[in-house]
Amino acid sequence: EDQVTQSPEALRLQEGESSSLNCSYTVSGLRGLFWYRQDPGKGPEFLFTLYSAGEEKEKERLKATLTKKESFLHITAPKPEDSATYLCAVQRIYNQGGKLIFGQGTELSVKP
């Protein structure tokens, strides 16, 4: 069964304190792995798509990496405005509909 597990469930950082979020996945053939940011009461906001092991994507203070079993979202020198829940999702290969399977998210809190 396809599964996505994110850790930790919650992470508290001081402003400027770099860290990483983990997304472990089990899927019968990976088409893509997606990172989203979700603010309270809002819809998921797209961040990155990764397709193959070894791929890396960057955007401002965020960097996403992918291996055959997991993905990491590295946050460098975070600011309070980076506080949000970060969601990881996978998409199975040969799935015509494009269904996304989400993890439960990591709630990040960055204190000034």
Binding site: Q96, K99, I101, Q104
Partner: protein, 112 residues
């Protein structure tokens, strides 16, 4: 920047009533989706829609649910007879190629 819009932002209904949630996907996108998120839980796939027909649906998407693209811009989710357990945030998403999906802000459905 184009975005997915959803109306209403909050819908309150009585158990057993019909509700229609509306979405306007990004204009050049071809794939459309509905997801839901019960408070404190994962984002769950409901249905995908392409070329005026359902591509895939989850176990949640039973006979009480239906989707429609009534014109060239709207995409709707109908729940025929709402239950208490249908209370959730409902997100519409769209995609050009069944790959990266862009989400709307959501409709909060409260069933009393």
């Amino acid at each position: 920047e184009p975005e997915v819009t959803q109306t209403p932002s909050h819908q309150v209904t009585q158990m057993g009533q019909e509700v229609i949630l509306r979405c306007v996907p990004i204009s050049n996108h071809l794939y459309f989706y509905w997801y839901r998120q019960i408070l404190g839980q994962k984002v769950e796939f409901l249905v995908s829609f392409y070329n005026n027909e359902i591509s895939e649906k989850s176990e949640i998407f039973d006979d009480q649910f239906s989707v429609e693209r009534p014109d060239g811009s709207n995409f709707t989710l109908k729940i025929r007879s709402t239950k208490l357990e249908d209370s959730a945030m409902y997100f519409c998403a769209s995609s050009i190629t069944a790959d990266t999906q862009y989400f709307g802000p959501g409709t909060r459905l409260t069933v009393l």
